[in-house]
């Protein structure tokens, strides 16, 4: 049963990931990423990470993807031109990705970590629940938690500054002239 669930999640995750880079319209890429994220949330559930799975669906597949869809709609579904600026890019890029995969696989298979070949220890009840994660975040990792909130604030301010229309019209006119 757990094998069926794992392979269903794995096929969804890999299929979604391939679809993200195979679709020529960015809008479809975003939708494929939603499939990928939902499958990944299922895999997190199999790993007893209930809170991470819920956060993945609510924050990622919900909020962040809506942001992507808005930007894809604002920018317009521009399809990529077919010309290749770097000769052989279409051939070399998959080769390099495959080389990376082989390298990672060798590292994983060659590792001496004995914990990897087991199903993992029997977990205590309440593992990965919001209760436990919240306790860890607010006690052991309080500084990390607070710096994450600072980081989010800085990112939000930075995004508004970047994307906001400039105040003076003159600035806009200058930048819109061809360089």
């Amino acid at each position: 049963m757990i094998y069926v669930a794992f392979f269903a999640g794995a096929i969804g995750a890999v299929g979604g990931a391939v679809a993200v880079i195979a679709m020529r319209n960015p809008f479809y890429s975003v939708l494929a990423l939603v499939i990928h994220l939902v499958s990944l949330a299922g895999l997190f559930l199999l790993l007893y990470a209930q809170f991470i799975a819920a956060a993945q669906i609510v924050v990622y597949a919900g909020a962040v993807m809506v942001l992507y869809v808005f930007v894809a709609a604002y920018v317009g579904g521009q399809e990529e031109p077919l010309w290749e600026p770097i000769p052989g890019q279409r051939l070399l890029a998959p080769l390099l990705a495959a080389a990376l995969l082989v390298e990672l696989a060798i590292a994983i298979i060659g590792t001496g970590l004995s914990a990897l070949d087991s199903d993992g220890p029997t977990l205590p009840g309440g593992f990965g629940t919001p209760d436990q994660i919240g306790n860890l975040l607010l006690e052991r990792f309080l500084i990390v938690f607070e710096s994450a909130s600072m980081l989010l604030l800085v990112a939000a301010v930075g995004a508004v500054t970047l994307a906001a229309r400039s105040r003076s019209r003159a600035d806009d006119d200058r930048t819109e002239e061809p360089a």
Binding site: I21, Y68, V75, V160, E176
Partner: protein, 99 residues
């Protein structure tokens, strides 16, 4: 279901994301591929957390999600700014900083 399966899956997802960054030229899709790579890292973190029976890896994964959200917000802000200034949305044509 040993933990190795999850780690291998995360390696596959990471390689797909890296290949996407190399092959695509639209900044929006490159951001999506970065998401793929960050999520592959998250899967590995959660799998290791399961392997050791220690929930600290899950906290790490949560923080990675926060950082990914920041990266998305800044990246999308850059794309919107590029679109407003009528710059081409193609990473190969944006070579103003090329040495």
């Amino acid at each position: 279901m040993t933990v190795t399966w999850y780690i291998v899956l995360s390696a596959v997802l990471f390689a797909i994301g890296a290949g996407g960054v190399l092959i695509r030229r639209s900044p929006l899709v490159i951001l999506l591929c970065l998401e793929l790579m960050l999520n592959a890292g998250n899967l590995a973190l959660v799998a290791f957390s399961r392997a050791h029976g220690n929930a600290e890896g899950q906290v790490f994964a949560l923080i990675v999600m926060v950082v990914a959200a920041c990266e998305v917000v800044v990246g999308l802000g850059l794309i919107v700014a590029m679109f407003r200034r009528r710059l081409p949305l193609n990473v190969d044509e944006l070579r103003g900083l090329k040495g």
